[in-house]
Point group: C2
Chain length 352, copies 2
């Protein structure tokens, strides 16, 4: 039988993780002291600001071990955080990983999880410099704090969109939601794990390189990632910027895979595209004359598509669809809400 | 009935927390952007390094809601992290708080928890600048990442103790362990919650001001906090520094309260003083000629006692007691081990 955490103990586990990081991770310039002391020590670069974000995933809620191995669980947990750094325009540098693990978990699975973290960090030349391990009785949790850097003054906020700005979105939001539907509504034997949508759920992308390029270009006015869903995150931009939005229904980027899955899923692809979904695309606003410049900026480094889906209006907190027949339909964006019984209406509660 | 988290939803909760922090927390210089975007943005000070640590506490494992209110739970979770920054010699600046909460938790209890965080942060002029909230089904968890600063080059590590150094310890380690024993081995009605030892458990101190003063003085060679227990943390210093230690049993700081509780607890106060305990004292090593200078440094800012308890030897990983009769007795330090069934022998597993 394979070794479990209770076989090797906390310090044994830390030793194993430390070795794995030394062998398979990278050294990041500016790391004065990494794992192994009361705190990590870093020397920030002059002329740069630091970005700090944290996000946690909980077993059963954010990941399903029946469909995902721990390598994918690790990649995904790190991707969520990289996406947050990228949505400000920054580059990831240092991660701290805090784990709540069950004592019967296999050491091999923890190591695979770390390989997942490193698979996402290494391309950025970013590293795990600290963390914590504690025991939990039921659901495993992974809480990651990620530190990134950005040239001082270049961070793109959600509160700075302007009336008349174009609204852009990268990629095809909703593919992960479509994949999750396929996972949940098929029998275990029936699930094609290599299905494009299921892969979008299991191994989501972040757009951190694209976000960094957009922020560096200086052409965007606001940016956010779609971690709460396309409409909910656009609503964050609008509410924080004191503006509204008008969206062209026909311009929503619905991928062929999502369209095709519609029949199978019995879900409207337009709904999947706009609601909460585990893909991490970017919503970007910019002056209309800069739309092509932003598209070109992204094209230079990536083949991800960029769609213009609407316009920022000066009606604070008011949202309209422009339907294919040209008529306007008012709507209220709903976001993923962890606690609300009704799914939560963010319209009233995020006016901060 | 009081409002629960499911009544107000995630965004409602974030809104409430945000308001509380604005009203009762402080603004920290260098905060370019606090709570409310994909990442926080900070501008580090020139000439300083940043310290980053994270530590989590889990309900039932690290805190007992039957004995503690959520204000104390919050204070304690922040204290653990402040202690880690202080043990490097730094000053806390920015906290990110990641919470795993049950949907039936009272909003008021979450607010009290935040008041606990702020009670510990405000004296340092430090602030909560970000975080995350997620729902859990069973045990509540609090995971805090704390960022501190220290003048470049002044961080005190655990790996730099030298042969011949004196070993100092602040305060009276083990008082919290004594308090926990009292809590666990008394009937509910019988527990004197205002007992000194029980208060040491419920509201532990950190020695961050003392640690900062010691590091700034330049007189210490190594420092660590006693989060794993006096002997386990001394062992961390010895193993990472490639040295051993000789401790004078009679010089161990056993408080009168701990001595008095011995009979009641049926626990050897010497054992309580040296094993894992939830007090956060400092173990400091320094050249013998600097012992008084370090004591004076601490005396200037604090009334916490400092005891000289032994000497660093060049026998790597070898530990001896000097008993009151002058004889030497070899021992192997044991540390708190979250996973090991036997309680874990750190002697073999932390040689990193």
């Amino acid at each position: 039988m394979r070794e479990t955490l209770s076989d090797i103990g906390e310090f044994g586990l830390i030793h194993r993780i430390d070795n794995l990081i030394k062998l398979e991770g990278l050294y990041v310039e500016g790391t004065v002291l990494g794992i192994g002391d009361d705190s990590a020590v870093i020397q920030p670069k002059e002329g740069f600001e630091l970005l700090i974000t944290c996000d946690s995933v909980v077993e059963g809620r954010h990941f399903l071990t029946e469909f995902m191995n721990f390598y994918d669980v690790g990649r995904r947990a790190m991707t969520v955080n990289i996406s947050d750094i990228g949505a400000m325009g920054g580059s990831p540098l240092y991660a701290l990983v805090s784990l709540g693990l069950k004592s019967d978990m296999k050491v091999r699975d923890v190591e695979d999880m770390y390989r997942g973290f490193l698979a996402e960090l290494n391309p950025f030349h970013a590293a795990v410099i600290g963390g914590n391990v504690t025991q939990v009785e039921s659901s495993t949790f992974i809480d990651i704090t990620l530190v990134g850097e950005i040239k001082a003054g270049y961070a793109l906020r959600r509160s700075t969109a302007c009336k008349g700005d174009a609204i852009l979105v990268t990629g095809f939001p909703g593919e992960a939601a479509g994949g999750l539907e396929l996972l949940l509504h098929n029998t275990r034997e029936n699930i094609p794990l290599d299905h494009h949508l299921i892969q979008a759920y299991i191994s989501p992308n972040h757009r951190a390189l694209e976000g960094h390029a957009v922020a560096s270009s200086g052409y965007a006015t606001a940016m956010i990632d779609t971690s709460d869903g396309l409409l909910a995150d656009l609503a964050h931009i609008c509410l924080d910027s004191g503006v509204g939005a008008e969206l062209n229904r026909k311009d929503l980027p619905i991928s062929d895979a999502l369209k095709d899955s519609g029949t199978q899923n019995k879900k409207d692809p337009y709904e999947l595209c706009t609601r909460d979904s585990d893909d991490y695309e970017l919503v970007i606003t910019c002056a209309p004359e800069n739309v092509e410049k932003i598209k070109d900026t992204i094209k230079k480094i990536s083949d991800v598509s960029v769609s213009t889906i609407g316009t920022v209006t000066n009606e604070a907190g008011i949202f309209h669809w422009i339907l294919p027949d040209g008529s306007r339909q008012r709507f209220t964006p709903k976001g993923w809400d962890h606690f609300s019984k009704q799914g939560g209406n963010i319209d009233e509660s995020t006016s901060r």
